[in-house]
């Protein structure tokens, strides 16, 4: 199982809004595919999938606030 963890986005960026999931639970994803989009007030950031597999769990929904270090999803 691979955890999808939100990395540091930059100094002073302590939180972001989860704005879009490109995949749903149960869908197959390839490593480096755009997996999830985060938005701060002036930037959007796409987090690529760290692994190839199936999205088994999603821990945050669109609109939720997330912070670096949070586990956003699991891929198996």
């Amino acid at each position: 199982m691979t955890k999808v963890v939100l990395p540091d986005l930059g100094e002073g960026i302590e939180k972001a809004t989860l704005s879009y999931w490109y995949f749903k639970v149960g869908e197959k994803v390839n490593e480096k595919d755009d997996l999830v989009e985060l938005a701060t007030d002036k930037a959007t950031f796409n987090l690529p999938s760290p692994a190839t597999g199936t999205v088994t769990e999603i821990f945050f929904q669109e609109g939720d606030t997330v912070k670096p270090g949070d586990t956003l999803a699991a891929i198996e």
């Binding site: 540091d8 986005l9 930059g10 100094e11 002073g12 960026i13 809004t17 704005s19 480096k32 755009d34 989009e37 938005a39 701060t40 007030d41 002036k42 930037a43 959007t44 950031f45 796409n46 690529p48």
Partner: protein, 231 residues
Amino acid sequence: MDCKIFDLGLIQFKPAWYFQKEAFKAVKHGYIDSALIICQHYPVITLGRCANRDNILCSNKVLAFKGIRVFEIERGGDVTYHGPGQLTIYPIFNLNYLKKDIHWYLRQLEEITINSLKDFGITSERRPGLTGVWVGNKKIASIGITVKNWITYHGVSINIKSEDLANFKLITPCGLDIEMTCLEKELGRHIAITDLKNDLIRRFGGSLSFGSKDASALGVKTAPLMEEARR
């Protein structure tokens, strides 16, 4: 690092948007190191990911009458307006080779703009928590970006000409109750857009430690990419 300069002139938003994505792919796949796209847009309103549609203050009918199209796009930020007389710069930079830090990159965009305005005799500044470039409490440049695979697109718009500022009244820019300003309004004289353009190209090259600006490749590189973008 080589930076290709693409001067698209006055162009509709949509083909320039596609062009950005093509340049993004070219950087992602390593065909080019980085790109700087410079253009002016025909009147358009764009809504970023955090946009509230209520920040467009007029009806669709008024927008249609004025020939202003509205696009929902993937950049960060709220609502903004682009039009002729405003220079829009889309840096397609690979932060993997610069610094993987969105905050740093936004501050760089502000810094370059502030220094360029200084070259024209305008003192501008940052305002904490309010990304963009300000002259007093008026905004002269707006910033909104997207970062994918640590490669950037979208960017900065700098207001130059006075005539076009009126269209900002159609929106609540960035969702804030603010006044917009422009170079000509601050200086009380005519500014040639080309002068600011050349200054920005020089500064973007210098500040981000890029090497030669391959302007000669313009015609060669732009034509096929543009053709694809228009399809």
